[in-house]
């Protein structure tokens, strides 16, 4: 049914008038590029987060007082251990150190294998410290004066290690100003997965102030954030798309209007109305498909090869220059993008194409 000569001829005409199509081609490529960049970034972050979640503890217990997080004590550990089904409860120290000179927080994480004089930092933090001439060691300002630690190792920044400083537990308590028997959170080990929900309810029964998060809670939290915020992006997108398509429709109408005579010539040599509509449809499909693929390809290169400068900061804040996104290409995402961009594009040319096709042919006879 599709006639090769006809398709060839449509493309010949498209190339002849390429100037008229350049505008829509570039804008559309840009829209696809932007949208797919955002989807690529969020897919990639999501992928990394879910990997991180894999190694998380089954139940995480945090204490709150008047709505703020406060440390937990040994007493909490003891009473949670009493609950049947709980295998082990580990108290963990973890928190944020405020680095006033650069006005930012460092995430202090405990690594048991380190001694009292060294720390491991992420490459992001390394470059921040280098700004202030700390190249081999760093001085933490604590209540008891200065604690000086050597930089033992630098680890690569990724989505969760970006602002991390790994230190010994005692040093961590010192930096975070926590007592010997204080813990930032508890890590509850439950051998039987089906008991997790039940046990977390029990913990809340014991201490109404305590916040309990299970792994599944976290998982759905992530899902929630990504679906939800993705949707907000989408809605912003729809607004911009609608304005683009209105623009496109007007632009196409005017381009088609200039081509009135040409269309009348084609009609006079035997092109039917449906042929003209089909001709315009082929031409615009070629434009739309080329822009779509070009946009997606450029987005891939921009996000995963160049690391998405500028756009990255929308997602991760300003201190994220060292994060490299894991290249994740989800066919479903591309399919969604395709439906979302190409179909409205083609829909917006149907009406102008018909209008120009049914123009009467009196123009040719004069």
């Amino acid at each position: 049914m599709i006639n090769k000569n006809f398709v060839d001829f449509s493309i010949l005409l498209l190339l002849k008038d390429k100037k008229e199509y350049l505008f829509s081609f570039f804008i559309f490529t840009f829209i696809v590029f932007l949208a797919s960049s955002i989807l690529f970034i969020s897919d990639s972050i999501k992928h990394d987060l879910f990997i991180a979640l894999d190694k998380q503890h089954q139940i995480i217990v945090k204490n709150t007082k008047s709505g703020r997080y406060t440390p937990l004590s040994e007493e909490h550990i003891d009473s949670i251990l009493q609950i049947s089904g709980v295998d082990n409860v580990k108290g963990k120290v973890d928190g944020y150190y405020y680095f006033a000179q650069d006005r930012r927080y460092f995430h202090i994480v405990v690594d048991e294998s380190l001694d009292e004089h060294s720390m491991i930092i992420s490459s992001e933090i390394k470059s921040i410290l280098a700004k202030f001439k700390y190249t081999t060691q760093f001085n933490f300002l604590t209540q008891d004066g200065i604690t000086s630690l050597d930089i033992k190792k630098v680890i690569k920044s990724n989505i969760i290690s970006n602002d991390v400083i790994l230190v010994n537990e005692d040093i961590a308590r010192k930096i975070l100003n926590m007592d010997e028997d204080e813990y930032s959170y508890l890590d509850v080990l439950v051998p039987n997965n089906s008991e997790i929900d039940f046990i977390s309810l029990k913990i809340v029964d014991l201490y109404p102030d305590i916040k309990v998060k299970t792994k599944n809670d976290l998982k759905s939290d992530y899902e929630y954030v990504f679906y939800y915020k993705g949707g907000i992006f989408m809605i912003l997108y729809i607004v911009s798309m609608i304005s683009f398509f209105i623009l496109l429709k007007n632009q196409i109408s005017s381009v088609f209007g200039e081509k009135k005579r040409e269309i009348a010539i084609f009609r006079s040599i035997g092109f039917a109305i449906k042929d003209i509509i089909f001709l315009k449809f082929i031409q615009n499909s070629v434009v739309a498909l080329c822009s779509y693929f070009l946009g997606v390809f450029l987005a891939y290169i921009f996000v995963f090869i160049f690391g998405a400068p500028l756009l990255k900061n929308i997602f991760l804040g300003h201190d994220a220059s060292h994060i490299i996104f894991t290249p994740i290409v989800d066919v479903k995402t591309l399919f969604v993008m395709f439906i979302f961009t190409v179909i409205p594009f083609l829909a917006s040319i149907l009406l102008p194409a018909w209008k120009i096709a049914v123009e009467d042919m009196s123009e040719v006879i004069k």
């Binding site: 000569n5 005579r261 006879i365 004069k366």
Partner: protein, 225 residues
Amino acid sequence: MRSKILIRNLYKIYNEKKENEFFALKNINLNIKCGEIVIIKGISGSGKSTLLSLIGALSKPSSGDILVNEQNIAKLPDIFSSQYRNEEVGFIFQSFNLVDGLSVYDNVKAPLVLSNINQDELKKKINLALEVANIAHKSQQMVSNLSGGEKQRCAIARALVNSPSLILADEPTANLDKNNSLIFVDILKKFKQLNKTVVVATHDTIFDNLAFVDTYVNIEDGAII
């Protein structure tokens, strides 16, 4: 001989039933036989172009019948009238109506792309038409670079490429100098040899008293006199 075009009680009225109602054609009756060359003469505005566009199914009559090959084309749906224009009719317009920005070859190709024929056949048909119209040597040139006479030969090649049995020419010599007009008259003779039915609407005196023309029709104010 079998009649090629049979026109009965043909009217074309613009702005019907309005104040500025205008009768472009009034009660036209005409019988053109196969292989005939017919010259329709009349001053501009007399309705000869309208008549031509009705025969070519470019517009539709207000009333009356136009039978081409015993088939009424007056009320054909668009798909069929387009097919008729494509396969049965070759147009040669006053302003040539070529598509600027395409080469001569591609312009001549245009009517053929609708039918699904293979590449070799396509090339053969185009080259044949270019030969007949004597424009083959310029086939790769852009039409915008051609002279008036060459443009017309290109238009003729396009009209012939689908080997139609009916050729309609609307003021073919109006944009040509004397020399090229004479060449067109020669081409008319060629059409006669090819046994095509040709209808020419013109007011050019160069077509007067030609021996090979079968019928002269004078038209004035939309009526045949």
